[in-house]
Structure formats: structure tokens, C-alpha cells
């Protein structure tokens, strides 16, 4: 046992000495600061501070300058040919990545800003680097910290959950791993200041004209039909649960887990719904209501008796079917079996 221990400590000593020697010999402070300066200048060329690297840049900044480096690099792996696949969300993530980078730059001056660089590499132009990193699925973001020596080391990989909340969670990841602060994400305002001022000016100029027309009573706003269709639309929008779809970001339909070719349009369970299901039911609601209005108000103008009769029959049939369908769907969805209460002696 004792010999073993000794051996181990000796090995450990050797290892430390050699690693010290290697780091002393390779990481030359001058060349490091050159590299940093070059990165800084590259960064200043891009608006958001994301450096576009190719195979050459990767080998220069990451391979030929071994660990420990004085900087970390966060790499975003991009592929233009996959931009058309929306489910990967590459472009959105790339924008968010740029946001994190810009925020980091805005909040860090001086030495801290030189410790972390945001880079991206593109697949068609840097296939070798993709192989070196061992990346074969996108989206992929990886942090190569100063101490990482092997590029294929996947410990710096950002998890799916780390970009689930977009820039905010990316920033958290960076802060956690590098101990640098990114700060609150500064998203660009929806309208720039110039745009806002132009819009305000337009409104102010337009106001007197609008008021004039209003006083004369000749705007679109005086058209009843427009208001009516707007009202019906709001009704449809609300009862179809569209707000639910927007807030929860519900998909229109799901794929059946057991049978991928089958699509699921209706979700069982109250309090949740899929997009298409809401619209279908909302449509049924609206149709019945409008048919009632149509039958009692428009159909009467029709002079032809046969047309009247047939239209009314169709209307009755459609309404009956729609009500039946909706009630059935509701009972199925909520799992309630609604039934009347009869006096117990009737049973």
C-alpha cells in the first residue's frame, strides 16, 4: 500500500511539473495578447460583436494556442442550408445569440470584455471544424473555455434547456460557466425612436382631418356592417380560445405518438386545447348563431317559397348537427356525462 501511495504521489508530481513546463513553454504572454488584440479587432468589425470564424480562424485561436488561454470562446454552429427547416429555429437562435453578445459588450468594458468572445462558424465553409468539434446535430452552441484543451470535449455544450428561454437562458449559462456577468438582455425596442416620432407626428397632423370627417359622419366607422363583422370576429376570436393558443403557444395539431401518420386534432382534458380544435368549435358556434339571425331576418326577403323552405330545412339541419356535435365534443373533452335529474319514482 505504502509503495503504491508513493508511486501515485510521484506520478502526480511529475504530471504537475510537466504541465507547468508545457504551459510555460507554449502559452507565451506576447502571442496571447496578440491573439486577444486580433480577436478584439475582429469583433469591432461586426455590429453585434459576433466574430465569423472559418477553419483557419478555429485553428489559429483554438488549436495552435493551447490551454490555458486567457479567453473563452462561445461558438455558435450555423448551417445556411438548414435555415429552411423552421423547427430547428437556427435563425432565431442566431439572432438571440447576437443579442447576448451585444449585451455582453455593452455591459463589460476593459479586461472582462477580453475574456469572452462570441463566434460563429458556418457548416458549408468550415466542415473540418465541425468534425473537430464532433458536432453532427444542430442547433449546437458550445463554450470553449480557456482551460479546454480538446475541441471534442463536450462539457461546454449548451443544453436544450439552456436556450429554451432564448437569450435570457443563454446568458445564464454563460454567467454560470465563465463567472462573467452578461447583465439583463437589452432587446432592441419594437419601434425605433425615429419611427415613433414620425408616427406621432403623423397622428398629430391627421387628427384634425379625421375629426372633421367624423363630425360630418362619413367615415368607415359609420358603416354598420363593418362594426358587425368586427364584433363577430372578436366573438369568434374569444370563444375559439385563440388567446389560449397564443399564450400557451399551442400547435394546431399533434402527431399521434403511436402512429406517426395519424394526426391528433382534439386533445382530451379540459383546460387545454389544440389550435385547430378551438377554431373548429368556434366556427360551429358562430355558424349556428348567424344561421338563426339569417333565417329570421334575411330569408324573409326571399320571395320564392321553395327556396325559403329548402334553405330553412338546411339551416335547421345544420344547426341541429352543430349543437349536437359541440355538446358531444364537450362531454368527451371534459369527461362529464351531463344528464337531467328525474324524480326517483320515475325510474
Amino acid at each position: 500500500m505504502a509503495i503504491n501511495k508513493k508511486l501515485a504521489s510521484l506520478l502526480f508530481l511529475l504530471a504537475t511539473v510537466s504541465s507547468f513546463a508545457s504551459s510555460a513553454s507554449f502559452s507565451d504572454p506576447d502571442s496571447d495578447s496578440d491573439l486577444v488584440n486580433e480577436l478584439v479587432s475582429l469583433r469591432s468589425n461586426s455590429e453585434s460583436g459576433v466574430i465569423h470564424l472559418d477553419d483557419h480562424g478555429i485553428s489559429k485561436f483554438l488549436i495552435s494556442s493551447p490551454a490555458p488561454r486567457p479567453y473563452s470562446i462561445l461558438v455558435f454552429f450555423d448551417a445556411t442550408q438548414l435555415h429552411s427547416k423552421t423547427e430547428l429555429r437556427l435563425q432565431e437562435l442566431r439572432r438571440e445569440f447576437a443579442l447576448v453578445s451585444a449585451t455582453f459588450l455593452a455591459n463589460n468594458n476593459g479586461s472582462d470584455a477580453e475574456k469572452l468572445f462570441f463566434c460563429e462558424i458556418e457548416f458549408s465553409r468550415s466542415q473540418t471544424s465541425f468534425q473537430r468539434f464532433g458536432v453532427n446535430a444542430l442547433p449546437h452552441i458550445r463554450l470553449v473555455s480557456g482551460s479546454t484543451s480538446k475541441l471534442s470535449d463536450e462539457s461546454g455544450q449548451m443544453d436544450q434547456s439552456d436556450f429554451a428561454r432564448l437569450a435570457e437562458s443563454m446568458a445564464e449559462f454563460v454567467e454560470q460557466r465563465t463567472k462573467l456577468t452578461v447583465g439583463p438582455i437589452q432587446r432592441p425596442p419594437f419601434l425605433s425612436k425615429a419611427q415613433i416620432s414620425v408616427i406621432v407626428a403623423l397622428i398629430v397632423i391627421a387628427t384634425p382631418f379625421v375629426i372633421k370627417r367624423i363630425l360630418r359622419g362619413e367615415t368607415l366607422l359609420h358603416d354598420r356592417r363593418l362594426w358587425l363583422s368586427g364584433a363577430i370576429f372578436i366573438y369568434f376570436f374569444s370563444v375559439a380560445g385563440t388567446m389560449h393558443n397564443i399564450i400557451r403557444k399551442m400547435p394546431m395539431f399533434l402527431q399521434d405518438r403511436n402512429d406517426p401518420n395519424k394526426l391528433v386534432f382534439f386533445y382530451q382534458g379540459s383546460g387545454m386545447q389544440l389550435g385547430a380544435e378551438g377554431f373548429a368549435v368556434g366556427f360551429l358556434y358562430t355558424v349556428v348563431g348567424l344561421l338563426l339571425a339569417f333565417v329570421t331576418n334575411v330569408l324573409v326577403r326571399v320571395r320564392n317559397l321553395n327556396v325559403q323552405r329548402s334553405v330553412m330545412l338546411v339551416a335547421l339541419f345544420v344547426s341541429f348537427w352543430a349543437v349536437k356535435k359541440v355538446v358531444y365534443l364537450d362531454n368527451w373533452k371534459t369527461g362529464y356525462g351531463i344528464h337531467p335529474y328525474w324524480p326517483s319514482s320515475w325510474r
Binding site: 372633421k212 380560445g241 358556434y285 358562430t286 329570421t296 324573409v300 335547421l316 351531463i338
Partner: protein, 724 residues
Amino acid sequence: MVTKKTSPDLLNSFSFKSLKLKTKQQELLIRVSILGLVYVLAFIARLFSVLRYESMIHEFDPYFNYRTTLFLTEKGFYEFWNWFDSESWYPLGRIIGGTLYPGLMVTAALIYWALRFLRFFVHIREVCVLTAPFFASNTTIVAYFFGKEIWDTGAGLVAAALIAICPGYISRSVAGSYDNEAVAIFALLLTFYLFVKAVKTGSLSWALGSAFGYFYMVSAWGGYVFIINLIPLYVLVLLITGRYSMRLYVAYNCMYILGMLLAMQIRFVGFQHVQSGEHMGAMGVFLLMQVFYFLDWVKYKLNDTKLFQTFLKITVTSAVLVGGIALGVGTASGYISPWTGRFYSLLDPTYAKDHIPIIASVSEHQPTAWSSFMFDYHILLFLFPAGLYFCFKRLSDATIFIVMYGLTSLYFAGVMVRLILVATPAVCLISAIAVSATVKNLTSLLRTKQKIPQAGSTKGVGSSKSSSKVTLDQSQPFQKNGAIALLVGVFYLLSRYAIHCTWVTSEAYSSPSIVLAARGAHGNRIIFDDYREAYYWLRQNTPTDAKVMSWWDYGYQITAMGNRTVIVDNNTWNNTHIATVGRAMSSYEDEAYDIMRSLDVNYVLVVFGGVTGYSSDDINKFLWMVRIGGGVYPVIKEPDYLVNGEFRVDKGASPKMLNCLMYKLCYYRFGELVTEYGKPTGYDRARGVEIGNKDVKLEHLEEAYTTSNWIVRIYRVKPPTNRL
């Protein structure tokens, strides 16, 4: 079923046309008796909860209301108004008088005192339990008058009948749900009715009434913000569509100014009417009214139209500019506060989800799926578009109002489930218009045919129009059987509605949620009364100054029933304090112990459904504790408790989850228990998995009490060990 009766009874009365005076008397008699029946129906439909369970207060918030009402009746109004409650939000305390809407409590106390004065010696609890049904009955009367105002008496009666049993309203007003909404919907509808009446007549007295209605609403519920935004919006629409009139000017100015002054008397609302962004729309419209009036006056004085046009442009532009600058300066200087989160989340519904977990976590703040609409409105949804169409056919100031009320509230109902309640009166009224107008047309047609059998079908339009005065819209030239078929259809729908409402009220909306009911294996009812068991245990077995820590949902109940001090409760005014509790629940036991020591906690109470399969327990709420805790203390991170984005409690759960305080307290000794035949020990029935950590050891806490079905578990926090 009164719903079915309303319209035919009304119409029968028209057949006695020859005797004018007598007909009117008959009609009045029928109308009053229908209203009386509807009044009773609205009350008794809400008694299902008392029948099925017992006369008790429901849910969470009502327990606070009950506790304050009790205080009010015992100590008097001034004590109540100045009450500093040291039993909640320990160690901060809460100023009750300044942080509640006193309308409900004062109403219940007045009813109680009135009954005592009349020598009916009832317990205050019974008064509280029956306040909601009583006010629901009153709402039907207001709905009748409202319907009469916007359409006719028939629509009023139908509206009263519909609203009496509409599940959307019943859900918040069954006997025992002693909450602000119980009286607030009455106040809301009353205010709207009086305002519409004021606009119609231009009379100061109606406007004054509306201002008082508004005052009552402000005193009762925070939802008054809806009124103070809807009414200005309505006025604005009237202005835009060229319906400005002196009547409108009188009604709005009187209502706004008086209502504002009155509302300032409520301490919780205070100066918000002139300071908060949510109320600025009303003030802007008020100023705009003055500009309109001024312009009218100038137009009257100036005879030159060209001169007036120039003057108009200058005035309007400068008025808009001045208003904009004032708003900008006010907001920038901090005099006008920005919108609150709840209000903002209505306009931008995705806001709350991203920014305010404490709002997003409440189940009644979830967005509404179509099935909830169907459940709460049933056939009213089908009738609503038809009603809209009828309203647009006969556009007046009143119908514009009801259409706007209906649409805005429906939109809000889509954003938050609980706001279905606010939309219910509007949906009932508009649907009532559809029912009443349709039925009236059809039956008048039937009667015309009987009288003039020789009338040709092509001439139908003319004949029915000329012969019956009751017809309001273009009548139908259908054959008799067509009309009969339609009528049968309508009555079929109405009867389905009655069946649906009765069933829903009895089965879904009468549960007090403090006593749980389940169906046993043989179809028998099993009652779980664990909550009250635990609270009474606290009351009888702990020192009176004991501090109990639990998640905020149970705070009101613990103070009201257990009579013990709590750290946080359902009045979620201090996010940091709640986050501290959330942090303690989601930390390891020794870290949590330090937090509990700093808050002087003696007992910890958790709700656990693993034995009974009760799904709204603390484990299922746990992620919200993590989120809310993490929102203030970044050491708590949601991903630590998830495995691949999934929340699990079984063997695959994350190590932090398996060892956090909440997990330990819920599953302590659970590993020894067999819950279901044929399953291993420690099988969690609420989540349907075998738990991951069966050997839970507690170091700083000890089990004090677990209720018979394990739903509530109480732990004692041990004092620190001796220093060595």
C-alpha cells in the same frame, strides 16, 4: 323550469287583445310572478352546495372575508377600519383596513345587524354563506330591468331567467363562496344599468344613482377598473360615431366626477383615480367631453363655417398635444404610476407568463380553452352571434353599450378563466335578445295565421307586419309549420340549457374544496375532511403564539380556522416574503432550517395527495414555488429540479428534487406505506409512480401530526441543539 315558461307565458297574454286594460293587468301579473319565480330559482339553485355538503365557507379567500366580517361584527366598524393584523405575514403584519375592499364585509354585517334588529338570531356564518345567493337573486332583477331598457320586457324576463342559472355566474356565487365577486357582479350590472338609463334619459338623478352604484362596486371588488375603462371607451365610441348629445354629457360628467370623489373614500383605492395609469383613460375622455361641449358652443356663436373649421383644427390639435404632454410629464415625473402587472397582462396576455410568476401561477388566471366557455355558457354561445345581429339591426345608445360590454368582456374572458364571470351578464343579456326577438316574431306569426287563414304565403311579410304591433323586426312569411319547427328548436335548446345548468351546478360547482368528495369503488361517496381536521388540531394542540409556515394558498384558512400566525397568505402583496418561503421549501433541509429559524417558524404544514390521489397538492404546485423563489433568489434554479425538462418524483428525479425540504416533508414515512393493491410500497397515486427516495430522514424537523388520509401533514421545527 322557469326558463322555458318565460316567453310563452308572456305571449299568451297577448291573445287577450280585445280587453285592453285587463290584458295589461294580466301581463303585469304574469311578469311579476315570473320574476318572483326567477328570484327564488336563482337562490335555490345555489343551495346545492349546502345540500351536498353542509353550510360552510368555501375555498381560500372567503375564509379571510369571513374572519374580517367576524371581527367587524364583534368589534365594530372603527376597530375594523384600523385593524393591524399581526397574525399574518409574520413578522411584517398586515394593515387590514387599508388593504381590502370592505364592501362585502360591511354588506354582510349590515344584513346581520338588520336580522338581529328584527329578532332573527342567526349566526354570522349563515349570513356569510347565504350572501352570495341573495345577491345573485338581486342580480336577476337588475338583469330584467337592463334587458327591458335595451330591448323590451320579454328580453328582460328571458335575461333574468338565463342569468339566474348560468353556470358562469353560479361558479362564483354558490352558497358558501363568500367572496368579493358575490356582491360585485350585482354592483357591476347595477352601475351599467343606471348609466345606460342616464344616457338614455339625460337625467341627473340616474347619473347620480350610477355614481353610487360605482361607489359600491369600488368598495367591493378590484374589478371596478373594468367599469372605469369600459364606460369611457363607450363614450369615446359614441363620440366617434357622431352620437354626442347633451344627455351623454350630463350622464358621463356627473358619473365620473361624483364616482371618482366617492371612490377616493375607500382607503385601498385612495388617489389612484388621479394618479394611476389605469384610470387615465377616463380622465382623458372627461376632458375630451369638455372640448366637444366647448366646440358646440363656439359653433353656435360663430356663424361662419370656414372660420369654425380653422378654429376646430387648432383647438383639437392643441388639446391633443396638451393632453399628450401632460400624460408624458406625469408618467416621467412618477406622479402617474404605470399600469400594474395584472392590468398589463390583460392587454398583452403573454406578459404575465414571462414576468410575473405569482400571477401566472394562480389556476384561475389561466387562459380559457373553448371547453370552459362551453361549460359555463352552453347554448348562450350559439345565441350570442344572433343577439349581436339583432343589436346591430336596431342600433341605439343602449344596444351599443351592451355590444361593447359583451365583446370587451368576452375578450378578457379568453385571457383569464376567472373573467368569464364578468362576461356572463353581457352574454346572458345579448342571448336573451336573440331568444326574445326570435320567439316573439315566430309566435306573432303563428297567431296572425290563425286570425287570417286566407293570407297568402307570399303576402306574409305585409300581413304579419300590419296586423301585429308586437313585431319588432321584419316578420317571417314562413308557413306555420316552419315557424313551429323553429320554435320547437329554440325550446329544445332552452331545455338543454336548463338541464346542463342544473347538472353543472350540482356536480361541478358546489364543491367547497375544503372538504373533498370522491366516488368509492362501489359508487358511494367518500368525504375527505382532512383540512379541517388539521386546522382544528393546530388550534387545539399548539401554543397560541405558534408560527406556521405553509405555501401561501393555505394562509387564510390557517389563520381563520386554526387561529395561528402564518408567514404568508393569499393576499400576495409581498413577493419577496413568498419567495423566501418558496426558497425554504425548495432548499436542502439544513439550509431551510436557517431560513425557518430566521422567520421564527414553529410548524410547517404541507398538503400531500399521494395517498388519496388528490392532484392539487404541494408536489404538483412545487415548480411554482421554485419559480417564485428563483425569481428573487437566483440560487434556486428551475433546471436543478427537472430531468430533461420533465418534472419527476420517481427514481429518475434529479438529486436536488429528491432531497429538498418539500419532497422530504411530503414523502416522510411514505416509503413504508402500501397505497394500492398490487403496487409496491411508496406508490404515489396522485402522480402514478413509485417514489424515488423511500428512506427519508429528517434532522431538524419532526412529524407532529398527519391527518387520517395523509392530505395534510404538519411538522414541528426542533429547537437548535445545545452548543458544545
